[in-house]
């Protein structure tokens, strides 16, 4: 079976750190399903037996941002919601990527109205804009493959100087603890 069959006993192989981390990172992208509206149902459909996002190593949808490296913003972001989206994005550890799933997330789409943010790139860095209202699950899988390609081009040193996100933790005795 696979790699193990070729490696006998105490074998080893050589590679660069970058190549290894890229390979590991891009095949186990853990998405943060920021499901807001209609697109969220299609995002769910991409996890169902027919489309099966598990084939690309991304079936582990985590609802806590601290375990994720890809945020799929699925659905119309209103001004009221934008603060929440940004807050969750800030809690995700680096390196992180964002897919703007669907027309309203990318540009406001059909909702040219007062409460809707006309494109989430006004407050978030977006890596992939995904067309469709909502995009079919196949299209979401395509976006995931594009993200994997993009991850494949990153180097470990790209993230060396990034500061840690600022966290405030309440201790059991009521004191506040801050990491920087």
């Amino acid at each position: 079976m696979g790699l193990e069959a070729k490696l006998n006993g105490n074998s080893f192989f050589t590679t660069t750190v970058d190549a290894l981390t890229e390979w590991a990172r891009k095949n186990s992208v853990w998405p943060m399903p920021m499901g807001i509206s209609c697109c969220a149902i299609e995002m769910m459909a991409s996890g169902d037996p027919k489309y099966d996002i598990a084939r690309f190593g991304s079936e582990v949808m985590r609802f806590t941002p601290r375990q994720c490296d890809l945020m799929i913003v699925a659905g119309t972001v209103t001004y009221k919601m934008s603060h929440v989206v940004r807050k969750i994005y800030d809690q995700m550890p680096d390196p992180k990527w964002v897919i703007a799933m669907g027309a309203c997330t990318s540009s406001g789409g059909m909702y040219r109205s007062y409460p809707v943010v006309q494109g989430i790139d006004q407050f978030l860095p977006v890596d992939i804009y995904l067309a469709g209202c909502p995009p079919r699950p196949d299209n979401l899988l395509n976006a995931l493959i594009q993200i994997q390609e993009k991850i494949g081009r990153t180097k470990a040193r790209d993230f060396q100087d990034k500061p840690l996100p600022r966290l405030t933790v309440v201790q059991p005795n009521g004191e506040f603890l801050q990491n920087n």
Partner: protein, 416 residues
């Protein structure tokens, strides 16, 4: 845990949360705890935010906070003509877009005073029942997932995908369909689509039984729902519940029976009710309702006549595309309707249908222009959500999830 600040919760919301207790904001954290649930939470079915006041794990008070998905539908409707709003109705209750289309088309037809041909009405009936099945499947699956049974969700989604495939054949879109037109449907149902509907209803019931075998005798599932979130029939009517949530309290109220639209008066079906009024009863109602829907679809397929699927009424109904391209008169009518609208005579109507969540109503006011003067959407999820504070009181935090799942709100239509 991060400390709650004024940016997170507006003082007015906290005030409402603490209204019926004698505690103040300063000592709230000592005796009782305020827990924020949502808007980003896997079990709130979208972007509902609940603020819970807890004593230990018991819920003492609850304030739902809506509006995270408020997209301004009613304002949009006032700024576009009647036809342009059809795609917007898809995205209201995005679990059953087809029945929203039908509801809106029926409302506008009532305002204009026209009626679609019989074949179109039968097609509408079939698609709204299919939409109901699709929506209830998600409701059942996600309720089971919320209380910890993950397999059911995958199985019900598998069934739902088959319905989406039917829609794919029918109108070319699998999710947001916009298939209904004012005065009919976009195109006749193809033989392949109808054959697929037949195939689906034949194989659906055994598959539903299979799903039910997984959970109906599962002790964890039953005990998580039995006796949780009880609401009596009188309270349910008073708080305005409709749809499966009301019928779970034993009230036999179904608009398909009470005020028949389309051809529901010619169809034999049962209005499913369960007397208990708890989350389990609401689940049973949903499961049994899909069986009734299958019955309705079977009868509708048998009774469906041949004929036109779009009304021939050039001043009010958009002509078919092929005719626009080949005939002068149709081209002019198309131009007039697209640019100036269909100008219904002044007046106001309210038309409601029984959608999968409850009573979906459209209140349209016309001043004789091409655009509606006012379009109010009476969305069932919005009203059903209002019962949440009443239902969760005295229960545990984990029951909140089960209760929300059994109400099956869709935030797209609750927030509008």
């Amino acid at each position: 845990m991060e400390k709650l600040t004024k940016d997170d919760v507006h003082p007015k919301i906290l005030e409402a949360l603490l209204a019926d207790s004698n505690i103040t904001l300063e000592d709230a954290l000592e005796n009782e705890m305020i827990l924020n649930m949502g808007p980003q939470h896997p079990a709130t079915h979208g972007v509902l935010r609940l603020l819970l006041r807890l004593d230990g794990e018991t819920v003492m008070g609850c304030v739902p906070e809506l509006g995270y998905l408020h997209r301004g539908y009613e304002k949009l409707a006032e700024n576009m003509n009647y036809y342009e709003f059809i795609p917007h109705t898809d995205r209201l209750d995005y679990l059953s877009p087809m029945s929203n289309n039908v509801a809106y088309a029926l409302a506008v037809e009532k305002l204009v005073g026209i009626e679609a041909p019989p074949r179109a009405q039968y097609i509408r009936m079939i698609i709204s029942e299919l939409a109901r099945v699709a929506s209830h499947l998600v409701a059942i699956g996600s309720l089971a997932m919320d209380v910890g049974a993950l397999t059911v969700f995958l199985w019900t989604l598998r069934e739902r995908e088959k319905i989406l495939d039917i829609w794919d054949i029918l109108c070319g879109a699998r999710f947001t369909n916009s298939y209904t037109r004012i005065g009919g449907v976009a195109n006749d149902a193809q033989p392949e689509a109808l054959a697929k509907v037949k195939w689906f209803i034949d194989q659906y019931l055994p598959n539903l039984d299979e799903c039910e075998r997984l959970i109906n005798t599962n002790r964890i599932f039953i005990e998580r729902l039995d006796g949780v979130g009880v609401i009596s029939a009188d309270d349910a009517i008073d708080i305005g519940l409709t749809g499966p949530s009301l019928r779970g309290s034993g009230v036999e109220f179904d608009l398909r029976r009470a005020q028949p639209y389309l051809f529901y008066n010619e169809i034999d079906f049962k209005v499913v009710t369960y007397p208990d009024g708890d989350s389990l009863a609401r689940y049973f109602v949903r499961a049994d309702e899909t069986r009734e829907s299958i019955k309705i679809i079977r009868q509708a397929l048998e009774k469906m006549p041949q004929g036109e699927t779009l009304l021939n009424q050039p001043k009010k109904v958009l002509p078919k595309k092929t005719e626009i391209y080949s005939r002068m008169e149709e081209l002019i009518h198309d131009f007039m309707i697209v640019n100036f609208g269909i100008n219904p005579e002044p007046g106001e109507i309210y038309h409601a249908v029984e959608s999968s969540k409850g009573e979906l109503g459209f209140y349209l006011v016309s001043k004789g222009d091409g655009k509606p003067w006012k379009c109010k959407i009476r969305s069932p999820s919005f009203v059903n959500l209002q019962s949440v504070p009443q239902l969760v009181k005295g229960h545990m935090v984990s029951d909140v999830v089960a209760i929300l799942g059994s109400l099956d709100p869709v935030m797209g239509e609750a927030d509008k």
